[in-house]
């Protein structure tokens, strides 16, 4: 049993962070499988799954509700009732549309808001919305209480930290003083002057029509934003509680490790609970493997056999160097983790990691160790 096994059995929220390309999305899915295997109802919120993984999980873009894995598939990855696995792909537009419908004072009001031209475009500007909607979706699903565990895959790479800071950044955006500049009928000498300047600048930069759309947008959405902002703030607080764990996913590449260490610092600064490090694709465990030698040759070897052996030897030397390198990286990670949190090394699984057997295998590694 690994410490990750304890996390997926006990926590209510697990957030996976890490640089892009370290297998974070796949790890999130495998953690969800592991949680469901221990009898829990699990939801995995993925941000940007590969098409293969999306197919494996049976999720589609624009689906209203999380999709439960079919019973056959669940059995295939070792999930038995009461455990269950559902997945949902974060769609920023869907999340914000839903929030608007839920929070608007009437269906007519919601329709009016959703038709605003600025609103229509804002949700397309995915870079900014993704982090915020991740938070909003997480809030929605945790509040509903349909799941024992929600695993959140954070937006890829550099964005991932914006996700942690989304409430702060959004709060700044929604800061009352900024808003007031756009809201009609608020006076005061200073405010009036600043607003005139803002009007001049924005009108000049964007053109009058857009400035007027923008003003209407802020006017209509200010109430909604403050509710959404409240949700995000509460969620940000919620992420500091005991039943939450952040997992730092990395791979044995120097850049990914640098990122992981950096995340570790940020998580500490933000006072978030770190659950551990997961080192993917590590060949550190191959050290014990048998070195190829002449005894592998068949009784009557051909020249091709000799050539093949010689080249295989060269490959094994190359692998030895990688093993040494990976062990150093694993040691560095362990030094860093100290006795604060565990480090779990997952061997390279190769192709098909996004297929059902691959996910089941990865879940097994996460639960039982390599």
């Amino acid at each position: 049993m690994t410490v990750v096994a304890d996390l997926v059995r006990e926590k209510q929220i697990i957030v996976c962070c890490g640089a892009g390309g370290v297998g974070k999305t796949t790890t999130s899915a495998a953690l969800a499988v592991a949680g469901a295997r221990s009898g829990r109802r699990v939801l995995v919120l993925t941000v940007d799954p590969s098409r293969r993984l999306a197919q494996t999980l049976g999720v589609k873009r624009n689906s209203d509700e999380p999709i439960r894995l079919s019973a056959v598939r669940e059995r295939e990855v070792g999930i038995e009732a009461p455990g269950g696995l559902s997945a949902w792909m974060l769609d920023p537009k869907l999340v914000s549309d839903r929030a608007v419908r839920k929070l608007a004072s009437s269906p007519e009001e919601a329709d009016r808001l959703l038709r605003n031209p600025v609103y229509g475009q804002v949700t397309q500007m995915i870079a900014g919305m993704q982090e915020y909607t991740a938070m909003e979706a997480l809030h929605g699903f945790v509040e509903r209480g349909d799941y024992d565990l929600v695993v959140l895959d954070t937006p890829p790479s550099r964005n991932a930290l914006n996700f942690l800071e989304a409430p702060g950044r959004l709060a700044e955006f929604l800061d009352g003083r900024i808003f007031q500049l756009f809201l009609p009928r608020r006076e005061g000498v200073l405010l009036g002057t600043t607003r005139k300047l803002v009007g001049l600048v924005l009108g000049g930069v964007f053109g009058r029509q857009f400035y007027s759309d923008l003003t209407t947008f802020f006017g209509s959405f200010s109430g909604l934003f403050s509710i959404l902002n409240g949700n995000a703030r509460r969620m940000s607080e919620r992420l500091r509680s005991d039943d939450v764990a952040f997992l730092l996913v990395t791979s044995p590449v120097r850049e990914a490790m640098v990122d992981a260490f950096w995340f570790d610092d940020r998580i500490r600064q933000l006072g978030l609970p770190l659950g551990g490090f997961v080192l993917n694709r590590s060949v550190a465990g191959n050290a014990e493997r048998r070195q190829p030698d002449a005894s592998l040759l068949p009784a009557d070897p051909s020249p091709h056999h000799h050539a093949a052996l010689e080249k295989l030897l060269r490959l094994s030397e190359k692998e030895r160097r990688r093993v040494d390198q990976d062990r150093d990286l694993l040691d560095a990670l362990r030094d860093r983790a100290g006795d604060r949190v565990p480090v779990l090394a997952i061997p390279e699984i190769g192709d098909g990691v996004d297929d059902l057997p691959g996910l089941a295998g990865l879940a097994g590694h996460l639960l039982n160790g390599a």
Partner: protein
């Protein structure tokens, strides 16, 4: 050496000097004799020969000297894209060095996200902790810059607002700037404008200050947000100074002769899947793809006969070296998938033992090597 794919010579990797046939102005691969049209005398070809659907071979060589379809360094701007960890930054630096050796004045650029200020790997490769928001000298004919949203916004406001006093006042008005930077796409707009202003910067004699800007873009999600920005914003703001700036950017980025994306990936299943998805995403942004680069391709040392013989040696249980063997197989399969699905020129770069600045140097030599 010429490595042929499992289904015949569909994927030929040429790592040697191409034989020159003086009178016919064509060359052929020294090993498999495939004729390479359009390759000039003494061109050293390091690249992948891909065959189009018509069966006509298309030479894909990494430029300098010879006539080749992959020609990144003669553009005005190359956007380096790809998931994290695929070597995008290293390749950006190597391409810069290669282009500088050709005599091009190069500017390498990366984004300085507020959350990322502590690390700047492109700058590190040039031995600096990080770049400034104005170009600084890195090496002969190479400058480096950090693209910064606030800087871009300031430049933009200054260019738009005719009254200098108003511009200065606007730039100093904290609530206004905070508003601009907190709103989702204005952040990208600032970076976009900063890039545009650097592309348009000219010397006293009227020539562009930098012939080529190589932009090491942030990882996929943000890259797409940036490349789609003009299209999305123009729908929202069809007229006015911002629209003019966006169109000026489009005039460079949407002209394949001036601006291209270069998609970097690794020869593994998942990265290739992600690269194919990125290529699909890029299609929406009207940005031409100049090259798809498979980085760190492990060499396959085995001939077909040796590979067959190898099966007799690998009996029970994995050996030290089995993982490397699996990697080679996955790389072959990945290149095959790229070849089948990518219309843009494809380039495979060998895995190399070097790291950091040494790797940049080695790759740039490989990219720019021309036989005497």
């Amino acid at each position: 050496m010429c490595v042929t794919g499992s289904t015949g010579p569909v994927l030929a990797k040429l790592c040697g000097t191409v034989k020159h046939l003086p009178d016919e102005a064509v060359a052929s691969c020294r090993v498999c004799q495939t004729v390479l049209p359009g390759v000039g005398p003494f061109t050293r070809v390091l690249g992948v020969l891909s065959f189009q659907a018509s069966g006509i071979p298309r030479v894909v060589a990494w430029l300098t000297g010879g006539v080749a379809e992959v020609d990144l360094t003669s553009r005005r701007v190359v956007l380096m894209t790809g998931k994290g960890g695929v070597g995008r930054t290293t390749l950006s630096a190597a391409l810069a060095k290669a282009a500088a050796r050709e005599g091009r004045r190069v500017l390498v650029a990366e984004v300085g996200e507020p959350s990322e200020l502590e690390q700047s790997s492109l700058a590190e490769l040039f031995g600096l902790p990080r770049f400034e928001t104005t170009p600084s000298h890195l090496a002969e004919r190479i400058d480096g810059v950090m693209l910064d949203s606030e800087r871009g916004t300031e430049l933009f406001l200054a260019s738009v607002l005719k009254l200098k006093a108003l511009a200065r006042l606007a730039v100093r008005t904290k609530p206004l700037l905070r508003l601009l930077h907190a709103a989702p796409s204005f952040h990208e707009m600032g970076i976009f404008y900063h890039l545009l202003s650097l592309l348009e910067a000219r010397d006293g004699d009227g020539a562009h200050r930098h012939d080529l800007v190589i932009f090491d873009m942030p990882a996929t999600g943000h890259s797409l947000a940036l490349t789609r920005l003009p299209k999305i914003l123009l729908r929202l703001v069809p007229v006015g100074p911002m629209a003019d700036a966006l169109r000026a950017g489009q005039a460079i980025l949407n002209d394949p002769a001036k601006g291209v994306a270069c998609v970097v990936t690794l020869p593994e299943a998942l990265p290739v899947t992600e690269a194919l998805e990125l290529l699909e995403g890029l299609r929406d942004s009207d940005l031409a793809v100049g090259a798809v680069v498979a980085n760190c391709v492990p060499g396959n040392p085995f001939s077909d006969e040796e590979r067959a013989a190898l099966a007799d040696l690998l009996g029970d249980g994995p050996l030290l070296g089995s993982t490397e063997l699996e990697r080679i197989d996955r790389a072959d399969a990945s290149l095959e998938r790229l070849r089948e699905n990518v219309k843009a020129p494809l380039l495979a770069l060998d895995e190399r033992p070097e790291q950091g600045p040494d790797l940049v140097e080695a790759l740039s030599r490989q990219l720019a090597e021309v036989a005497p």
